[in-house]
């Protein structure tokens, strides 16, 4: 039974999709944060551009990094808890029924 699930194409595709999503989101987070530091360190002109009153782009981006970090975790939770878990249950059910 277990063997059958593991060797099914659907299962393999789903596991691969999850891995891709985890690694992509982790890379985006790395890029956002270290990109932010890089900009501050090397693009002072750009960072100190005023946007609203005296509030500059650097401040807005700092707040942006915090918000984006949270949004990314939200995207992941929604995908895994809704789509991934449901599909996994469906695959198991389908193969179990096929077994009988």
């Amino acid at each position: 039974m277990k063997e059958k699930i593991i060797n099914s194409a659907e299962f393999k595709a789903l596991v691969k999709a999850k891995k891709t999503i985890s690694l992509t989101l982790a890379s985006i987070e790395l890029l956002i944060y270290f990109g932010f530091i890089w900009l501050i360190a090397y693009e002072k002109e750009f960072i100190t551009k005023k946007i609203l009153g005296n509030i500059n782009l650097g401040i807005v981006m700092g707040i942006g990094v915090i918000l984006l970090s949270w949004i990314l975790t939200g995207i992941y939770v929604i995908w895994v808890n809704k789509i991934y878990d449901e599909r996994m249950t469906a695959i198991k059910k389908k193969l179990e029924e096929g077994e009988i």
């Binding site: 593991i6 982790a26 944060y33 005296n54 650097g58 949270w70 808890n81 878990d85």
Partner: protein, 498 residues
């Protein structure tokens, strides 16, 4: 003495909860993981309670109030580890482990050497963090409550031992939850009162600041001089968060993986919100209290938030916020102590000494004895390090967590060919390099040991120790082959899916 009133209220409530939890801290699953009965929302609050220390609340608000934009850069670094925990660590940790993160490192490797190494990594992280928190606690409580440094340390130490020994994980979790609510509530109110002064308009607040301190205050400052150091600190904060034993332990307190994921989402939200508040508090203090006064009372700016509370809300609010800071310190050391004690009792005593054959009673007793020893040690070290500059220990904690704990955990989860020797090698490489390079760096070698030139140029060693740890993990693993480990890896991977 409003602060005393609020603080005693907090202590009263939490001790009552601990008393109620005594009955439910008798078996290992109860003591280490509260019988996996915590909901995702509760655990999210508790995770944020474990993570939001007084050092970050008072320290970052102070840093922003004194250094403006540079303080904000620092604040941002404290959130970015959470997505990493979510995407890479939380689920597999929960799937293959039982109570401590060493479980997840060791599940497919040779128990004795790897459990010893992982426990050493966990304990060093906990101890350095504990010393930093204790010294900060004694100092801050002295400022806020006007009691002596030593008595502050003894009060904190005694209370934390009571919570952990009698209430285990259940009491620890509720201490965190109550503290998180107090801290988030207090900080929200403070921001509300501050923004009220500016008609709830951030533009007003910032134009007030630039009028006072010039536009330079909102520009990046010292970071431009040494970007490599900033990146090194970034690595330590990002991956160190994902290697903190007391945080990782929390993923075993919820019923299943689904709840574990949700709890990271809640925690990230609370923590992000908290740093947004902290940064507003910092700028608010710069505008309404003024840098001169903040610096006069405390050179490091630690009093910025309480002083702002006094300015916008009077004595009662100052008292409340001081009590919040006390509760914050207390809660963080409680979580740390439980994690440290678990490393001793679960990993070293039950895993190595008793070869996994300890019974429930023996292991829980060992955990309680370990808590007692760790508590006494924390009190002694806290008093010994009085008047010492221990700020570097927070950076050291994160550097060790990022370069000793995280790489071994990550590789054990993701790399099939990982071996026991590789794991042990990577843990000790990260640990030793972090400690040695911090000592040779500017904060200890120059500032504390008074040498004229640092031998190692960076304040935070993570950029070296993190990659060196991964390199030795890969190199040693490729030299040693462990068939057992590869088979268990496949087996556990399949088991966690089905």
């Amino acid at each position: 003495m409003t602060q005393m009133f609020f603080f005693l209220l907090f202590v009263g409530i939490t001790l009552y909860i601990t008393y109620r939890a005594t009955e439910r801290a008798r078996t290992t699953i109860e003591f280490y993981s509260a019988r996996r009965s915590i909901t995702a929302f509760q655990n999210g609050l508790a995770l944020s309670g474990d993570y939001m220390s007084a050092a970050s609340f008072l320290g970052i608000a102070g840093l922003v109030s004194l250094k403006g934009f540079d303080g904000l850069i620092y604040a941002v670094g404290w959130i970015v580890g959470w997505p990493i925990i979510m995407f890479l660590i939380a689920e597999p940790l929960r799937n293959v482990g039982k109570y401590t993160f060493a479980d997840a490192v060791a599940y497919r490797l040779k128990q004795k050497p790897i459990r010893t190494a992982a426990a050493v990594g966990a304990l060093t992280t906990v101890l350095f963090y504990l010393i930093a928190q204790m010294v900060g606690a004694g100092y801050l409580i002295k400022l806020l409550f006007d009691i002596s440094y030593e008595s502050a340390i003894v009060i904190v130490g005694a209370l934390m031992m009571l919570y952990v020994i009698f209430g285990g994980m259940l009491a620890t979790t509720w201490v965190q939850i109550i503290k998180a609510c107090m801290l988030l509530g207090g900080a929200t109110l403070l921001v509300f009162l501050t923004l009220y002064q500016f008609g709830f308009n951030y533009v007003e607040l910032f134009s007030n600041i630039t009028q006072k301190y010039g536009e330079e205050f909102l520009h990046p400052g010292s970071i431009i001089e040494n970007p490599v150091d900033a990146i090194s600190l970034g690595i330590a904060l990002m991956f160190g968060t994902a290697g903190l034993p007391h945080i990782l332990m929390r993923f075993y307190t919820v019923p299943d993986v689904k709840e574990a994921r949700k709890s990271v989402f809640y925690a990230t939200g609370f923590i992000g919100y908290f740093y947004l508040l902290t940064f507003t508090i910092g700028f608010g203090a710069a505008a309404l209290v003024g840098r001169e006064i903040i610096r006069k009372i405390d050179e490091g700016g630690n009093m910025a938030a309480p002083l702002l509370a006094e300015a916008v809300g009077g004595g009662v609010f100052f008292g409340f916020l001081s009590a919040v800071a006390f509760a914050t310190i207390l809660a963080v050391v409680v979580g740390l102590t439980l994690a440290g004690a678990s490393a001793v009792s679960h990993d070293i005593y039950a895993g190595v000494v008793k070869c996994d054959r300890a019974d429930e009673k023996q292991e829980v007793r060992a955990a309680k004895i370990a808590t007692l020893c760790l508590g006494l040690l924390a009190i002694i070290l806290g008093i010994l390090f009085k008047n010492q500059n221990v700020a570097f220990m927070v950076g050291l904690t994160f550097s060790i967590a990022a370069s000793a704990n995280f790489p071994a955990l990550f590789m054990s989860i993701f790399w099939k060919k990982f071996t026991t020797h590789g794991a042990v090698g990577s843990i000790y490489t990260g640990l030793i390099l972090s400690v040695v390079l911090i000592i040779l760096g500017p904060t200890v070698w120059v500032d504390i040991l008074k040498n004229s030139q640092p031998i190692f140029p960076l304040k935070n060693p993570a950029i070296i120790s993190f990659f060196a740890s991964f390199a030795s993990a890969i190199f040693i693993s490729l030299l040693t082959h462990e068939k057992d480990s590869e088979e268990k890896y496949e087996y556990e991977k399949i088991k966690s899916y089905i």
